[in-house]
């Protein structure tokens, strides 16, 4: 009876995409190891990048220079060039900081958490996403660094013995932020670089000029793919992933502490840590999709970064978007439930006060826009998914704006109420940070292995030995 039931079942024809009886191949088309290496290495090896690369560079490079110009002017003139005024003394700089740190969460999340959950589809996008992480951390770190005004005093943040015999104030969440973001930057860099070592060795071995050979050769550290090396390497990768996973959660939690340890209604609420983390993953994934869709088309990587990968990303986006929506709802409910008039006012003010427009942009972009991904048509169409993801990014920027500004603009005393307007330099600095991010990303695409070559190979069907049986974790164990 059993076998006949199974026989009947296997006769049922189902759309291949969702058939539970088989897992869809992660690499599309008829590819072997050789062609995978060639197609990925080709991005960096071709003599000239595609025209669109130049166009993108032509836009992002001037923006980057604008950012540097703004910073120079800021150093000369001071933070008065921005719109930060009492009572809104935390304005765009921290909004931009939190925004970029949020973007930075996707890379390590894809690399670490999806790795631990054995989501093999991550291999095609993790390298680019990790790169985005690092570039986003660079952009994020810029804002707190420059907003102190006297940037040459920055070293006060580090516990360095100094002539004033002063130490940093470790009970301040702002210092936790320094530690969290710099640890995150360091670990992400290590993770990214370590993942890249075998691929840099590939580039080294394929290099045609001496300069390339030396440059890639030094950074490849003399990698020669020994199985003993691979064994320790994989173990180290697993450990780094296990370390990075709580680290990712901690970074945005610590960022949320900046707000939540205060006693301001609208900032002080216990759901902030997981809520910020969900929002960060949400925005980070949206940014990865936004950039990977054009990049895979431009560099001919459609067979490696397939629609299936993008669809999975979009599913994560709708899931995290819903979590963010959950947090919004909980904040409102508990504000009412608390019975505290200040809490209640803060949230009514958010939705109906002077910044109502920002609040409703946030809700429609973050909660409503991702719901379109319930439809398979939309989450598998490259154009539509990019549109939705751009809305998500806008919404997530506004979320930070709403949290920061709409809370500060109403102080406890009506005489201290105010309204924030950005200055030209606020706007230019934000645009400039996008330029910096794009420039770094474009350089990365051109000169470094954009997809984890060895990892993609290892998830191809040819990569698995067919068991013959006698030596599963066999004899002769010795530590080394």
């Amino acid at each position: 009876m059993t076998s006949s039931a199974m026989g009947n079942a296997s006769a049922i024809v189902i759309d291949q995409d969702i058939d539970p009886r088989r897992r869809k191949s992660l690499v599309e088309g008829d590819h072997d190891f050789t062609s995978i290496t060639a197609s990925i290495a080709n991005v960096a090896e071709r003599p000239k990048p595609p025209k669109a690369w130049y166009v993108a560079m032509a836009i992002s490079l001037p923006l980057t220079l604008t950012l540097f110009g703004c910073i120079a002017y800021l150093v000369v003139k001071g933070v008065g060039i921005w719109g930060n005024r009492q009572p809104i003394s935390w304005a765009w700089p921290i909004v931009n900081f939190v925004f970029w740190v949020g973007i930075a969460h996707a890379g390590t999340l894809i690399s670490a958490i999806l790795f631990l959950f054995r989501q093999k589809w991550r291999t095609s996008i993790n390298r680019a996403a990790e790169a985005m992480t690092i570039f986003a951390v660079v952009c994020a770190g810029t804002f707190p660094a420059i907003h102190v005004g006297r940037i040459w005093m920055e070293w006060f943040l580090a516990p360095v013995p100094n002539h004033l015999e002063m130490w940093p104030q470790f009970r301040s969440p702002l210092l936790w932020d320094v530690f969290a973001v710099s640890t995150y930057a360091t670990v992400s860099l290590l993770f990214w670089y370590m993942g890249m070592v075998p691929d840099l060795a590939t580039f080294r071995d394929r290099a045609t000029t001496k300069i390339k050979k030396i440059a890639y050769g030094i950074f490849a550290l003399g990698w020669r793919g020994s199985s003993r090396q691979w064994h320790r390497y994989e173990r180290a990768y697993l450990l780094l992933a296990a370390l990075a996973m709580p680290l990712v959660l901690s970074v945005h939690s610590v960022v949320s502490f900046d707000f939540a340890v205060s006693i301001l209604p609208g900032w002080h609420t216990t759901i902030f840590p997981p809520y910020f983390v969900a929002g960060a993953i949400f925005s980070g994934f949206a940014m990865v999709v936004t950039l990977m869709v054009p990049a895979r088309a431009l560099f001919g990587l459609k067979h490696v970064v397939t629609l299936r990968h993008l669809e999975n990303m979009n599913k994560v986006i709708v899931a995290t978007g819903t979590m963010v929506g959950y947090a919004y709802a909980m904040e409102f409910f508990i504000a009412w439930y608390s019975g505290s008039q200040y809490e209640q006012f803060a949230f009514i003010n958010r939705a109906l006060g002077p910044y109502w427009w920002a609040y409703w942009i946030m809700v429609s972009c973050n909660v409503i826009a991702p719901q379109f991904f319930w439809f398979k048509k939309i989450r598998t169409s490259p154009l539509l998914m990019v549109i939705v993801c751009i809305f998500v990014n806008i919404g997530m920027w506004f979320e930070r704006f709403v949290i920061t500004v709409s809370t500060l603009n109403r102080d406890f005393l009506p005489s201290a109420w105010g309204y924030f307007s950005p200055t030209l330099f606020d706007i230019l600095t934000l645009c400039g940070s996008f330029g910096l991010f794009m420039t770094l990303f474009l350089l990365f695409c051109r000169y470094l292995p954009m997809v984890a070559i060895s990892e993609v190979k290892s998830v191809m069907p040819q990569a698995h030995p067919h068991h013959h049986g006698d030596d599963a974790h066999g004899a002769g164990h010795h530590a080394h």
């Binding site: 039931a5 079942a9 969702i18 897992r23 939690s253 340890v261 002080h268 608390s338 019975g339």
Partner: protein, 441 residues
């Protein structure tokens, strides 16, 4: 390897394991009856009487509910992520979730207490107090018996509906092996997770947070969720181990690899719980806002303070180091040991949540009588003084221990009766092969 191939086919016919499960049911019934009767008896003899016993009952109910909801959440998430590794463990989860109808019945004592008692365990339902206390009066639109019952009817509707759907569809697949049933469950999983998340959060607010109607915390739903998942994984490991040891589940069906993965999740939720608990505590500690600190005040001071410190160690530090190693997670004895340990930790957590609030508001109830003539503020002040005396008492009652054992025994009985007639691993799930050949790196 050969062993694995042979186990690809389901072991024995459904119901072949019935005697083993009958044994389990019998034990469950003995534990359940004994625990409940002893708990109630001791509570009535001891200090606090019936009102205090209801505190124990809330712990017990929340304890069993957490495991069942964790199981339901697990099933939904497995379908949502199209997981292959967990297939052979999923039936246990489906069966644990199917105890929810029993829980709906076990919820009745709380309902009766709410409607009939002069000083119910949920203090906002005390009509006098609700009028005298301005904060509770403000929340009356939400915290009132009628709306509470409507909400719980909805929660149970959602949970019973979902657990019946997933178990029923999965059992249907046992017969036909139709892969379209898997797709049907996957499609259902997305809306299910929304309903599940919202109902679980509000259930936690209603049952546990409102034990102290003054206090509020936006993360509380997530806090209870963490406990649900952790206690489910612990229960799943223990049940799987017991059933396998007694031959109800084949040796190749749930392997070391599965237990390793369950162990990882167990460890993960130990850490996740700590993260959520730390976030909640640290933010309230740091802001030091009297609107919220009262909740921690009664937990940090007096005899309860020792329990709170113990909670940090029992629920986080010790199991963290205990479960850190890969060898432990793959060990046939060590992993069930830590699973059992963490069930105790979950009980301690619920004790930490429930008892100080119950004791605090028991004081309020009596003070409300004595000082009814005084203004709100005076009544509250007097109540606070009574409650302060409560700090000095040793908070643990034997019924806090016995009642959860009782309800868990009843749930075990229900589980075993439900499980005796069905296969304990999904027989014809299209991903069964994938699950059986699972290998950890």
């Amino acid at each position: 390897m050969n062993e694995q191939h042979s186990s690809m086919a389901p072991s024995g016919s459904a119901g072949g394991h019935a005697p083993i499960l009958d044994r389990l049911a019998q034990r469950g019934l003995i534990l359940g009856g004994g625990g409940l009767v002893a708990g109630l008896g001791l509570a009535l003899l001891g200090e606090g009487g019936f009102q205090r016993f209801m505190g124990s009952y809330v712990i017990a109910f929340a304890f069993v509910l957490a495991i069942a909801l964790g199981a339901l959440g697990f099933v939904i998430i497995q379908h949502l992520t199209r997981a292959g590794w967990s297939v052979t463990n999923r039936r246990i989860a489906e069966l644990i979730a199917s105890t929810i109808p029993l829980l709906a019945v076990l919820f009745l004592p709380i309902v009766l207490n709410l409607l009939l008692s002069k000083h119910p365990v949920l203090p906002w339902a005390d009509a006098e107090l609700a009028q005298a206390d301005p904060l509770i009066a403000k929340k009356a639109a939400y915290l009132n018996s009628g709306f509470f019952l409507v909400r719980w009817a909805i929660y149970f509707g959602i949970w019973v509906g979902l657990s019946r759907f997933f178990l029923g569809t999965s059992l249907k697949q046992d017969e036909s092996g139709d892969p379209r049933l898997t797709i049907k469950m996957e499609k259902m999983a997305a809306p299910a997770v929304l309903l599940f998340g919202l109902s679980l959060s509000f259930a936690a607010f209603d049952l546990l947070m409102s034990l102290d109607p003054h206090w509020f915390s936006t993360i509380f739903g997530v806090y209870y969720f963490a406990g649900c998942m952790m206690s489910f994984f612990a229960a799943c490991i223990l049940l799987g181990k017991w059933l396998q040891k007694n031959g109800a589940i084949g040796a190749g069906e749930i392997t070391t690899e599965h237990r390793h993965d369950l162990g990882k999740f167990l460890f993960g939720f130990v850490v996740f719980w700590s993260y959520v608990a730390f976030s909640q505590f640290m933010l309230i500690w740091y802001a030091n806002n009297p609107e919220e600190t009262g909740w921690y005040d009664v937990r940090q001071n007096g005899a309860m303070g020792y329990f709170s410190i113990a909670l940090i160690f029992v629920h986080f530090v010790i199991p963290f180091f205990g479960l850190l190693s890969r060898h432990v997670k793959r060990h046939p004895v060590a992993l069930p040991f830590w699973a059992a340990w963490l069930l105790v930790a979950q009980w301690l957590d619920l004790f930490f949540i429930v008892v100080p609030s119950v004791q605090h508001w028991m004081g309020h109830g009596h003070a409300g009588e004595g000082h009814a003539a005084l203004g709100h503020a005076d009544a509250a002040h007097a109540a606070g003084q009574v409650a302060d005396h409560a700090h000095e008492l040793f908070p643990l009652a034997l019924s806090d221990l016995l009642t959860p054992i009782g309800l868990a025994g009843l749930a075990l009985f229900f589980f075993a009766r439900r499980a005796r007639a069905v296969a304990l691993t999904p027989k014809l799930d299209p991903r069964r092969g994938e699950s059986l050949s699972l290998q950890n790196i």
